[in-house]
Amino acid sequence: MINSLSDKPLPERGGHSTRAHDVKQSALIRRARARRTIDLTAVTAAGLTGSILAVQTGVAGIGPPHLRAWVIAATIAAAAACAWTWLRRSPVRLHVRRREWMDAVDLAPVMVVDDRNVIRHWSRGCEYIYGWSAAEALGRDRGKLLHTQIDEAEQLWPRLKADRRLDNDVSERHRDGRDLAIRQHVELFDQGEGQPAAIVSVTDVTELRRAEAALRLSEARLATAVSIQGIFIYEYDLIADRMIWATQGDERAESTANPGATLNPNLRRTLDQAIAAGRDRTHYDFAFTYADGREGLAEGWARIVRDRNGRAIRLLGTHLDVTERWQREQALRTGEAERRAILLTVPDAMFVCSDRGIIRACSASACRLFGYAEEDLIGRQVSDFIADGRPASAVRRELFRAFGRGAAATSPLRLDVRCESGKVIPVGFVVGTARRDGVRMVVVLGRDLRPAIASEERFHRMNNDLAQVSRLGMMGEMAGALAHELSQPLSAVVNFLGAAELMLSQGDRLQRERLRSTIDRASEQASRAGEIIRRLRAFILRGEADMRAERLADLVREAAALALFNANSFGVRLTYALEHEDRLVLGDRVQIQQVLVNLIRNAADAMAAHPGELRDLTISTRVTSDHLIEVAVRDTGPGIAPEILERLFNPFATTKREGLGFGLAISRRIVEAHGGQLSAINAPDGGAIFRFTLPVMDEEPVG
């Protein structure tokens, strides 16, 4: 459309002044041709004006914004100059046509100010831009009306007087208060009578400036992003061997390349290899050193640009600092290697499980202990390997409870594990938990308890032997002390009685008083011997009694564990029938346990003496009255022989070759000292039952 109305080609960027000049020249020619050409001129001017509008609306879609601005400005300037020339120089008055034409031209935003900046002409185009009508604007000071702001060096009139024209940017204000960015083209002309005036053609470039600012901002953002990422971008001239352009300002990015004008030689070699191989793209890693001397690692990508002959001429590349990622990966690799090493060497069986007990990883020792290959263990439930007679769900519940407690558990969880071979081994489990990537992981350590149990048994046996030996030693020592203590009064008794006998034999000279006194003194010494024995018994039985409220059920369980930890207990099946487990008894813990251990051992020994028979040991408790609780220890041994039963609780009554015969005697004394009774009967269906009672402690502890 433009081309059809005007034979002028679209103006190039920066060519506006030439164009304006051409337009002016053609206007002069037209004036010379006078009226004949008026129509043509009018049409041309109208076409130009139309092209202005067209440019303003249609051109907006194409070309860069600043180019658009120039086109518009140039066109407006040309149109304005044309219109003014025509108005002043042409005396022709074709009113109707002129009216229409003026209306059209008036759409161009053009104003005229005099040398005092008073607005003398205000086009309708100005009305559109500024919002002021001609009536409001005419006669007003431009600076005041439009709040014109301009650099000191760009002041209109001094510049205009010097150059007669100027192009610059000013900042003005719309009637509604909006700030406007205005591009103005100003030409000086003489109004006649020596009155200079300026014809000001304005363009609203507010949107343009805003777009430019946005562009600048986004460029700045890109630069920031590049710098944050540690990306270094460069363009390199391979022919001249120099850096054409590179991102700046980031120490990290610059460190990745040679900061100088030429590429790092190592890098250049790598790139040359890629070029020689005919590649257009290449990817490389390279080490570098930070300014502070630290080692770094970067990853680079380059695009090789070739000329028509295939010669590599330019290089576009980016470097990314991957030091941190590399270090993380390194740490991860190290961690993984450590994990493998731990799993290979940890002496206890180790499992890493999900919190639902699914095995994710396991140690070599776990494979050895369980007898399964690693791949047979991974993915299975830990509880699948537990075989202690309970249903799997119960085992799983217990395991999950242990998982929940984690490292807070104070003692290992003891469970029986069924190995691949079918063998069941006791294993102590310790659980720890960890969180990885938000997922809770459970580390389970299992230790084969067999060696520990064996050594514990050995230890207990040794301890028992030792206790036996020391008991014997103590008895020997006590016997010695007792012998000395008793021999003194007994010797005295013998002496006194010997004296009495001698006195009696001297019948004729018998002195009754002397004899009586001698016999009295013998009797005194005999009493003294008795006192020594009483003192000794008191010492043995009550010397260390420490009466406290104790849970009988606990005492029973502990004593049974203690008593059955020896060889004779092998194969004994222990059953508890404990009523009122929470009831407390008042007693000396050690002494009551001594009684229990004694009865339980007797039972186990009695059953061991008859191999092949059933070995059932039952310990039961029941409340017999308001104040007494009865403990019964029942075995399936041969029972008690009738001749023994009578003197069962006397000292030295024993059926055991190595026994001293004191156990039951002492037990009875202990029970009696506690206010209870110890008795024994043979059960009607075989075996012996020993029963003893203890006083119940009231619910409310006294004191």
Partner: protein, 208 residues
């Protein structure tokens, strides 16, 4: 033999009294009791010879220590050790240390009295022996040097002629000396004279 002194050393008062009563009833003993070994040893010098009934188990100095010190300082006492816990080791130790007897408590009265009797017999013997030596020595001291030489020759079983030759005198002179010395010693045979010489200790009992 006049008085029979018995010293009772025991820390147990009842026992001390019972022994005193017993010995009093038995008669013929003078008793004195000490409640410790130290008390007994302190009074030792003023005590007449006698038997010591010494308890083995005492606080302070025990019986064996008291026995050893007693043996070192004074040989006039016969010690009978009494113990409530006798064993062979202690008994052997006691005998080596010079105990006359070792009795385990409680004991039979007869055993204690018998042990005391044995002790006093040894004391009596020792006293008799001591007086015999005294007599023999005074007799030997009455001999002239020549008579003594002849006696030594006789002890060695030498004939008169050999003695005469060794003393460079005549056999006749030897016979005169021999008659004189037997007269002075109041003996009739050479054997008797030799016994007195031995008792007096002028020649060692064993040759050497």
């Amino acid at each position: 033999m006049s008085e029979r002194h018995v010293y009772i050393v025991d820390d147990d008062e009842g026992l001390r009294q019972s022994v005193e009563v017993l010995l009093d009833a038995a008669g013929g003993f003078t008793t004195r009791a000490f409640d410790s070994g130290e008390a007994f040893l302190d009074s030792l010098v003023e005590l007449p010879a006698g038997c010591v009934l010494l308890d083995l188990n005492m606080p302070g100095l025990d019986g064996l220590l008291v026995l050893r010190r007693l043996q070192q300082s004074d040989g006039r006492f016969e010690t009978i050790l009494l113990t409530g816990q006798g064993d062979i080791g202690i008994a052997v130790e006691a005998m080596k240390s010079g105990a006359a007897d070792f009795i385990e408590k409680p004991y039979d009265n007869g055993m204690l009295l018998g042990a005391l009797a044995g002790g006093f017999e040894r004391i009596d013997n020792r006293e008799r022996e001591a007086s015999a030596i005294q007599v023999a020595r005074s007799n030997i001291e009455r001999l002239t040097p020549r008579e003594r030489d002849v006696l030594l020759g006789l002890i060695d079983g030498k004939a008169n002629k050999i003695i005469a030759y060794e003393l460079d005198i005549s056999p006749r002179t030897v016979e005169i000396y021999r008659a004189n010395l037997m007269d002075k010693l109041g003996v009739r045979s050479v054997a008797e004279a030799v016994r007195i010489a031995f008792t007096a200790g002028i020649v060692p009992v064993l040759p050497g």
